[in-house]
């Protein structure tokens, strides 16, 4: 792995992303509006759904919930970015260069990870400054959760790139992952307040572990050790998805080139 090439590829991707800053802003402004609307209304539900609910505000759930829900839309943004590059022919050109596949994938992914991290931090800052969001738990736990959430989002995006045949498929699956996964995973309403069958399914969604960990460390005062299981599930899922994607990506690339 050569860091100079990684930096060149990442810098180029960042330049391309910057030209789509309106879309990036939309991914930040939309959840901010949603959490502003929903925070007060969610307060009674939060009091009933969480053990520490009595001391939690509506924002202590709405901010991590909507932050997670909209953070997962980055999968579609990133996936479509990869597909655009295929259409331009530059993906093939990158692969024909002396850069290794890992350098290309990591270099292209890093700017999206940075934007995703920035998106989450801005949401939390907005919640803290404008809404009634608390940080009662461990800062290290919060950092760990943000890293784990961003990692699983990047991994899902790579998985979609590897397994989808078109950007339309990626967009459709992003809606499925982002909206359906978000609602079932408790990003819109606490899982305890959802129908019984969804509570059983919630555990298979990454959003469940993300919202549970973030709302725990923010509003409920959880420590680092409390959120390690959440982060471990998310990071474990990311490792599995990346392993599946890397293999699939290298195989399908040859067929796509040949076609």
């Amino acid at each position: 792995m050569r860091l100079d090439r990684l930096a060149v590829i990442g810098g180029n991707e960042w330049r391309m992303l910057w030209k789509d800053q309106a879309v990036v802003m939309l991914l930040i402004v939309t959840p901010a509006v949603m959490m502003g609307i929903m925070a007060d209304g969610l307060a009674p539900v939060v009091r009933e759904s969480f053990d520490a609910g009595a001391s939690m505000s509506g924002a202590d759930f709405a901010v991590p919930g909507f932050t997670v829900m909209f953070a997962f839309f980055m999968t579609g943004f990133m996936g479509n970015g990869f597909f655009l590059e295929r259409g331009w022919g530059t993906w093939q050109r990158l692969r024909a260069s002396s850069a290794r596949s890992a350098e290309v994938l990591l270099g292209k992914t890093a700017p999206y990870a940075a934007v995703s991290t920035l998106q989450i931090l801005l949401m939390l800052a907005f919640g803290w400054l404008v809404l009634d969001l608390h940080l009662r738990g461990s800062v290290a736990g919060l950092v760990l959760m943000i890293v784990a959430v961003v990692a699983v989002i990047m991994a899902i995006a790579l998985f979609l790139v590897a397994h989808c045949g078109s950007s339309q498929q990626i967009s459709a699956l992003t809606n499925l992952v982002g909206i359906v996964g978000g609602v079932i995973g408790g990003a819109f309403l606490p899982v305890d307040s959802l129908p019984g069958w969804t509570q059983a399914v919630a555990y298979v969604t990454p959003q469940y572990w993300a919202v549970d960990g973030l709302s725990g460390v923010l509003g409920a005062g959880d420590g680092l050790a409390d959120v390690v299981p959440n982060a471990a599930v998310l990071l474990g899922a990311a490792v599995v998805l990346i392993a599946l994607s890397a293999r699939r990506l290298s195989l399908t690339e040859q067929e796509r080139v040949a076609a």
Partner: protein, 296 residues
């Protein structure tokens, strides 16, 4: 510089490349000729490592492309058949990015980009987004990217498609300079036999995945070319007949033409001397553009 040995690539039942072998020496320009689907692009993509062959080996400057792809690709400049540029970046930004990807410093990449912008007549377009370039401008920028790293092996797949005569001539001069002045080995895939004949030292003719001929232009013409007489008809069809002595055989060919009611009107008769084009036709039974009706 480039050694391709017994290359085989299959896609299911279809054998796209079937035992292809050839070489290109430093400073040499080799034309890779074949009709659409002959296996040219698959061969080029295998050389650059984008396609993994089922068997056979490709070495670039002694580096096996499969075993050491990074080392092999460091020497290759590749311009694929379809233009490949970032449409949201300017021409200069595209060149700078791909230059820096090869390890050039910012200063060196800028200097090389400016040099190629001048050489390829892209000065006016340098600051424009690649997405708004005309087809010919984009093609020139596409080839410029392949030249950024001063490659020791230059692979050009239909590099002159869509260029006007002046730009095409200019592009061919650049290719020749890359080989003669810089010592690059050039593999030049094209449908335009006249330009291949004008710049290539050798030609490799490939058909249905197999090499049918490999030699200098003169050798290929001497071994495989025959003269031909070509009839063009009012309905747009053409017939081509291989002949040994056009003047002697033309009357008999004319006498055999169908002149009955409903037969298309004969518009013109062309006598084609032995050339790379007639050699290609004799070997493959097809014209590069694939428009000639074959006559037994």
């Amino acid at each position: 510089m480039l050694e391709v040995i017994d290359l085989v690539k299959r896609y299911g039942e279809v054998t796209a490349v079937d035992g292809v072998s050839f070489h290109v020496a430093a400073g040499e320009i080799v034309g890779l000729l074949g009709v659409n689907g002959a296996g040219k692009s698959t061969t080029l993509e295998t050389i650059v490592g984008l396609v993994t062959p089922d068997s056979g080996t490709v070495t670039v400057d002694g580096h096996d492309v499969r075993a050491h792809p990074e080392r092999a690709r460091a020497h290759i400049g590749f311009a694929a058949q379809d233009t490949a540029l970032y449409p949201r970046l300017t021409v200069r930004e595209n060149l700078r990015f791909f230059g820096r990807l090869t390890g050039a410093s910012r200063h060196d990449a800028d200097a090389r980009a400016d040099e190629l912008i001048g050489l390829l007549g892209l000065t006016e377009q340098a600051g424009r987004l690649a997405g708004v370039l005309s087809g010919g401008e984009a093609r020139r920028a596409h080839v410029a990217v392949a030249l950024m790293a001063r490659p020791r092996l230059l692979l050009l797949d239909e590099a002159t498609v869509g260029l006007d005569v002046r730009t095409r001539t200019h592009m061919l001069e650049l290719v020749v300079r890359a080989a003669r002045d810089s010592g690059a080995a050039v593999l030049f895939s094209s449908h335009y036999l006249a330009e291949v004949e004008s710049i290539c030292d050798r030609v490799v003719i490939i058909h249905r995945g197999r090499v049918l001929a490999d030699g200098t232009v003169a050798e290929t013409i001497a071994r495989h070319a025959k003269s031909a007489v070509e009839f063009a008809f009012g309905d747009g069809t053409r017939q081509r007949h291989e002949v040994s002595d056009p003047a002697a055989e033309l009357p008999a060919l004319l006498a055999r033409l169908d002149t009955g009611a409903g037969a298309p009107e004969l518009k013109s008769v062309n006598v084609l001397p032995a050339s790379l084009e007639t050699a290609f036709w004799a070997l493959t039974g097809e014209e590069p553009a694939g428009l000639v009706e074959e006559v037994a």
